[in-house]
């Protein structure tokens, strides 16, 4: 399948880094592959954008997989996978609440922990621990070789993904 993604192996897990537009397609493929048990959805502020990490397990042979996708700050939209795995419903709501990732197609995307009328997404690095905006915070550059790989020229694994963005 020609998805914009990169596959690697970290410890005992398969890690797929995928373009946000292909995230849904990859998830459907994994669901068809028998990954039936959702462990968690994490969201990470990478400094240049927000990363969504989906952890899955296949119950039959206990294979583990991680799906990662990066979205920019100004358009943090990912397709929801709640219809594939209903168990990620609250995890996605949590990622929306605390990190500000919007999940397209989520049945009930409301704030989970904080009050409905709050505006901040406090886990983003632009806020300090107390939830106040950090003065002078600027987003980092989007990594030039994007974390995923374009399908037509199937390249070998590039450098480690940009861990940067500790703009403080």
């Amino acid at each position: 399948m020609d998805l914009r993604m990169k596959q690697e192996r970290l410890f005992d897990e398969d890690v797929y880094t995928v373009h946000p537009e292909d995230y849904r397609a990859l998830c459907e493929k994994l669901k068809a592959d028998g990954y039936d048990f959702p462990r968690a959805v994490s969201a990470v502020d990478m400094g240049y954008g927000l990363r969504v990490v989906l952890h899955l397990v296949r119950m039959s042979d206990l294979a583990k997989v991680e799906v990662r996708t990066d979205v920019p700050y100004d358009e943090p939209v990912v397709s929801s996978v709640t219809d594939l795995w209903p168990g990620v419903e609250w995890h996605e709501r949590e990622a929306y609440d605390l990190m500000g990732v919007r999940f397209k197609g989520h049945p009930d995307l409301r704030r989970l922990f904080l009050e409905e009328d709050w505006e901040i997404h406090p886990l983003q690095k632009r806020y300090d621990t107390g939830g106040y905006p950090l003065p002078g915070w600027q987003p980092a550059q989007w990594p030039d070789p994007a974390p995923w790989v374009e399908p037509p020229p199937p390249q070998e694994e590039g450098g480690e993904k940009a861990e940067g963005g500790e703009a403080e």
Binding site: L10, F11, D12, E13, D36, F37, P38, R39, A40, S42, A43, V44, D45, V53, H55, V57, M59, L62, K64, E66, W85, P86, G87, V88, E89, W90, H91, L98, P107, D108, R110, R111, L112, F113, L114, P122, L123, T129, E163, E166
Partner: protein
């Protein structure tokens, strides 16, 4: 599913919307469930959480890895050291530390002791929810004994902050192994009485059998773990699936029940207490009385890389996703709460049940809000 307004729905004058919690004796903390009642039957249930959200994940980014460990204690506060293990394991993986076998065994003994303590608290509070006051006081007494053993070694009763990267913080008390063996003898004498009070009680049968049935497929899809999943017939247990610490060296069974109802969840927790006793007994024989209890870890450890690690705590799969950026503080920590994920099934189980059943179902899910709200 969307927000229920507290106003009566047009055309549904027979429905009453009640707001259960955050201060309600049977919510095990600060859960709020907005329930639509038609007589005694529940037509809608929307859980609201976040009344104990205390920014664990944000504040842990401002702490060093060593300071993160005591924070994790405060998540699932009923089961103490069990919460520390995922972080410790993930950091050890990323550091590549060698952990002495004895340290692993001591960790596992503590882990299973706290599983017993947590299930005892569950037993007492579940029976309290069903209206029986007395079992609560019996189980809390037994829990006090466990806390006494823990305090003797770790220095604190409930939230001991005992595990550390590469092992445990200090060696066990000289009488630790004897204390634990004595406690297991005591508990195994008590367990038949507990079974008589809870599992063999005809009123408990009437209240729980066939109530709140969670099917196997639904349980897996909902991401449910722990006793709730195993009561639905899935033998998924992180201790068996992805073994950690001393679990590869011990023999134990994963009790499952095909029923998936509230009674099955009660039953599975009882069997887990027996299995925990079995595990601890094996470890008491295997563990050397003296020896190393900690590997070599720099006090200024710096970590880069990402790792998801999970353990099987009393409520299910407690995971953590650690992202290190090469400094001594975590760049991002995401806790995957077991009770958090399990609590999602509230609408599935509540709708159609009686209001009294909802109380029994909720107590069989055994939520702990430190970990759900984080």
């Amino acid at each position: 599913m969307s927000t229920i307004s507290v106003d009566p729905v047009p055309g549904r004058s027979d429905e009453m919307v009640v707001n259960m919690g955050p201060q309600h004796p049977a919510t095990h903390g600060v859960l709020r469930v907005v329930i639509g009642l038609e007589g005694e039957r529940i037509t809608r249930a929307v859980p609201h959480i976040g009344y104990l959200h205390r920014n664990h994940e944000k504040i842990e980014e401002a702490r060093t890895y060593f300071q993160v460990v005591p924070y994790t204690d405060r998540m699932d506060y009923v089961s103490g050291t069990q919460n520390e293990l995922p972080v410790v394991l993930a950091v050890e993986d990323l550091l590549g530390v060698e952990v002495p076998q004895r340290a692993k065994q001591i960790r596992t003994i503590f882990f299973e002791l706290f599983r017993i303590a947590s299930h005892l608290v569950w037993m007492g509070t579940a029976m309290l929810d069903l209206g029986a006051i007395t079992p609560f006081l019996y189980t809390f007494w037994d829990r006090e004994i466990i806390l006494g053993i823990v305090e003797r070694t770790a220095g604190a009763r409930m939230l001991p902050n005992y595990y550390t990267f590469g092992g445990v913080r200090r060696d066990v008390h000289p009488e630790f192994f004897k204390d634990v063996a004595d406690f297991l003898d005591h508990l195994e004498r008590r367990m038949p009485d507990y079974e008589h009070l809870v599992l063999e009680n005809p009123i408990v049968h009437a209240r729980t059998k066939g109530v709140g049935v969670l099917s196997k497929e639904r349980a897996i899809a909902r991401g449910v773990t722990g006793p709730v999943l195993r009561a639905s017939g899935v033998a998924y247990d992180v201790r068996k699936a992805f073994p950690y610490d001393a679990y590869p060296d011990v023999e134990f069974e994963v009790p499952t029940s095909p029923d998936g109802d509230t009674y099955a969840r009660f039953w599975v927790r009882f069997q887990e207490i027996y299995q925990a006793c079995k595990i601890i007994r094996q470890l008491l024989e295997q563990t050397p009385k003296t020896g190393p209890y900690k590997g070599k870890v720099s006090p200024r450890l710096k970590i880069s890389g990402e790792r998801y690690r999970a353990v099987e705590n009393s409520r299910g799969e407690l995971g953590v996703y650690v992202v290190g950026d090469g400094s001594d503080r975590p760049y991002r920590i995401k806790h995957r709460g077991a009770a958090f994920t399990n609590l999602q099934v509230i609408p599935d189980l509540f709708i159609g049940a009686k209001f009294s059943d909802a109380i029994a179902i909720l107590s069989s899910l055994d939520p702990v809000f430190g970990e759900i709200d984080r």
